[in-house]
């Protein structure tokens, strides 16, 4: 007989289109974070650290990297005889086959997966936040309040509350009203998109709303349950929680890690974050390098200068190269005398000798001024940048580029190069 008290369902199917070229070939939860990690490592590690050993990961958009990363869950101790991690892509059914059309629809399509564990509670998580949270405490709270649904919420500055779904509560923390991105918020308690459901309540709602188009937790399931007077409680969380939905917030969250004593501390023994390490050797720092205020991961070979930056595993930085205020991901090669400033450079990129990135005035992006903003130069994975070119701010590059792509050896601020098939 299989019995789990609580299982988790981790929504990892979204593209995260506001991360631009970073997510053109991988789902947002697979994007690298903090040097050696990927975003999904945080909720997965939270699960195992909270004693939740059964996790269904719902994938849909570009799942290859995510699948390879998760494997059978060994790094998170989620390789279990019973339970463990299971990757759940959409699948063909007799009759109405469909993609996952919404968060709740994705969960609905996996009712059988959840059913087999006889869980009393189901934890719904999303794969795109950076935080450490003990879901067991939240479950205890859920039980104490005899809740049908508990929603993790955190206080945000009232002026920012209009970006979130906010909740109004009574004295007991029972939620009385929901407001989705209100213009004039009456509360600063924002929903974090983390829910604990009584399985019976969730199952009933999913089935009742199975014909709802693009069925979504925030828009459909929670309002439905609220309407039929289910006991919905807010669980207040006051730790570090960061939505890395935009290039700006993604860059900022990475940069916070290099503070002398970071608010989000990865160096604590307690509550470790686990990841799939395929590169083990130590990093080598040559006699010509200068490193200040940075974090650098395993297997790097650093011969240049690195300031205020986050460097992923297996990165090579050539002699005379200077990296400032940037994020460089796994296995990227920065050749000699390159200069990189305030840039996000994804995995397996090659930056040519003497090339300068992030130089120029602030000009709005011609590709998408909402995505490529914050003065960042963003280079997608597997890109190649030739020698001795200059690339401006708010730029986007994806694909193997050649000198001919850079008139006057320059890509001005706000410009972009997206090679065919790379979008």
């Amino acid at each position: 007989m299989i019995k789990k008290e609580m299982i988790a369902m981790l929504l990892a199917g979204g593209q995260g289109s506001r991360l631009g070229v970073l997510t053109s070939k991988m789902a947002k939860p697979a994007v690298a974070f903090g040097g050696k990690y990927r975003i999904i490592d945080f909720p997965l590690s939270n699960c195992i650290n909270s004693g939740v050993d059964t996790v269904g990961v719902l994938t849909q958009y570009q799942p290859l990297r995510l699948n390879a990363h998760i494997g059978i869950g060994i790094p998170w101790d989620l390789d279990r005889n019973v339970g463990g991690v299971t990757v759940l892509p959409p699948y063909e059914k007799s009759g109405n086959s469909e993609w996952y059309t919404g968060t709740a629809n994705a969960i609905y399509q996996n009712i059988e997966y959840m059913q087999q564990y006889n869980a009393e509670y189901v934890l719904i998580l999303s794969g795109d936040h950076i935080y450490k949270m003990d879901y067991e405490l939240m479950l205890n709270y859920h039980k104490e309040h005899d809740a049908d649904i508990t929603i993790a919420c955190m206080p945000v500055p009232i002026e920012e509350a209009s970006r979130f779904g906010v909740v109004l509560t009574d004295d007991e923390n029972r939620i009385t009203e929901f407001e989705e991105k209100p213009e004039h918020p009456r509360s600063n308690l924002a929903s974090m998109g983390i829910y604990i459901f009584k399985w019976s309540v969730l199952k009933d709602a999913l089935i009742k709303l199975k014909d709802q188009k693009q069925c979504d937790f925030g828009k459909h399931i929670i309002p439905y349950c609220h309407e039929k007077n289910d006991r919905i409680f807010a669980y207040e969380y006051n730790g570090y929680w960061k939505d890395v939905g935009t290039l700006g917030s993604y860059w900022e969250a990475n940069m916070e890690l290099i503070d002398l004593i970071p608010v989000f501390n990865l160096y604590e023994e307690f509550w470790k974050i686990y990841t799939n390490n395929d590169i083990l050797p130590p990093q080598y720092i040559s006699d010509k390098s200068v490193i200040n205020r940075s974090i650098i991961s395993e297997g790097c070979d650093i011969r240049g200068e690195v300031y205020n930056s986050v460097i992923g595993v297996g990165v090579t930085i050539g002699e005379g190269a200077v990296i400032r205020d940037s994020i460089i991901m796994q296995n990227t090669v920065i050749k000699d005398n390159a200069y990189i400033e305030k840039s996000i450079i994804a995995e397996n990129v090659v930056i040519g000798q003497g090339t300068r990135v992030g130089i120029g005035p602030e000009v709005e992006s011609k590709l998408d001024k909402k995505i490529y903003a914050f003065g960042l130069a963003t280079i997608g994975e597997n890109s190649v940048i030739p020698n001795n070119v200059t690339i401006g701010k708010n730029t986007a590059i994806s694909g193997v580029t050649e000198e001919s792509d850079y008139p006057n050896r320059t890509l001005g601020s706000g410009e972009y190069i997206i090679k065919a098939g790379e979008m």
Partner: protein, 373 residues
């Protein structure tokens, strides 16, 4: 591969000085992120040997912790697996391992219950990469009874701590001397042997009957004229870490680009237990030159020509030169360390000075209380 593996990891010697107090040599940390035994284990795994026994005796705590799961080296299959054998008292035996041959004899069932025709025996303190399949091919081609992997050592190394061999033109070993006072040969045994399983059982049982316990003296040296014992020359890097000087030098070798490239970049990889440390952190004031830094380190001071193992904390204004800082060491502000090996889990106070003088390597063991952090 048609062989099982045995790793001899029981050994220790006083040449490791204080470093041996805590652990068997096979468990010594090497090259920042590894332990010595990872090299033999990874070689076995990469040679498709599926069943490996690690024979251990001396202070095996560190080693057992390291071998807590066999999945890091990709053992732990239904076929085969990783076995750790420590001495145990049984109805007919109450001894510790009295020698290498005895350690195999006490686990002779492991040999008898296997069906693979060959056995690879390797020491746990060698730092090298080797495809044992190539040695086996050679072994079969030479119709050898035992093949001993050998290495020509450069002039400057002290070879009196090794077994020295002399071979004839056919590579058959005609002389084998264990730790001689003087010798004109520069070829040493690397402590890696291939032998047919039935042959090994026979020799080990004979040894036991005669109350002999040492594999080298009582089998290799004693049988060298009776059995066909061949030498297989190793061309690539090989180093044995079982003295303080050799241990220090081996670690420092990894500062050379060609050695790093050979071990870290070229196929096949060396595996180790994953520790889940965050990336190394360089705070303002850090100044690193020609050094290896492992994950989990936090550096506030100056580090030069050194190897930092995992989770070292280097305080403000510290100077670390030509030194090896083992796992989980805390070094307080303004401390000066040169030509030292700092033992793992050490806590070193601020404003201290440790220097290995006159070309000697100083071993620093400091167990102060760690406050904060």
């Amino acid at each position: 591969m048609r062989a099982i593996g045995i790793i001899l990891a029981g050994g220790n010697n006083n040449k490791m000085k204080e470093l041996s107090y805590k652990r068997a040599i096979a468990a010594m940390p090497v090259a920042g992120s590894y332990r010595a035994i990872d090299f033999a284990l990874s070689n076995m795994s990469n040679s498709n040997i599926q069943k490996v026994a690690v024979l251990t005796q001396y202070n095996a705590k560190s080693l057992n912790e390291h071998l807590s799961s066999s999945k890091w080296w990709d053992f732990g299959r239904k076929q085969g697996g990783l076995y750790v054998f420590t001495p145990s008292i049984t109805a007919d035996n109450g001894f510790w391992y009295r020698g290498t041959a005895d350690s195999i004899w006490q686990n002779i069932k492991f040999l008898k219950n296997s069906h693979e025709p060959y056995v690879v025996i390797a020491a746990g303190d060698g730092i090298y990469k080797l495809d044992y399949n190539k040695v086996l091919e050679y072994h079969i081609k030479k119709k050898a009874d035992i093949t001993v992997v050998c290495k020509d050592m450069p002039q400057e190394t002290d070879i009196t701590r090794f077994g020295l061999v002399k071979m004839n033109e056919d590579s058959r070993i005609v002389e084998f001397e264990e730790k001689p006072m003087a010798s004109d040969s520069r070829t040493v045994s690397a402590g890696i042997y291939i032998i047919r399983r039935r042959q090994l059982i026979e020799l080990i049982e004979k040894c036991a009957e005669e109350e002999r316990h040492d594999f080298v003296n009582d089998i290799l040296v004693r049988y060298k004229n009776i059995k066909r014992i061949y030498g297989y020359k190793l061309d690539n890097y090989w180093s044995n870490i079982s003295t303080v000087e050799a241990y220090y030098k081996t670690n420092m070798d990894f500062l050379k680009p060609e050695i790093r490239n050979y071990f870290f970049k070229q196929y096949p990889d060396i595996y180790s237990k994953v520790d889940d440390m965050p990336p190394a952190k360089y705070n303002p004031g850090s100044n690193i030159k020609n050094s290896l830094v492992s994950s989990g380190c936090i550096i506030n001071g100056q580090v030069e020509n050194s190897v930092l193992f995992k989770k070292a904390y280097i305080g403000n204004n510290c100077v670390i030169k030509n030194s090896i800082i083992l796992n989980n060491v805390y070094i307080g502000d303004n401390t000066y360390i040169e030509n030292c090996i700092v033992e793992s889990h050490d806590t070193i106070k601020a404003n201290e000075r440790y220097v290995g003088e006159n070309g000697q390597i100083k071993i620093v063991v400091e167990k102060n209380e760690r406050i904060g952090l």
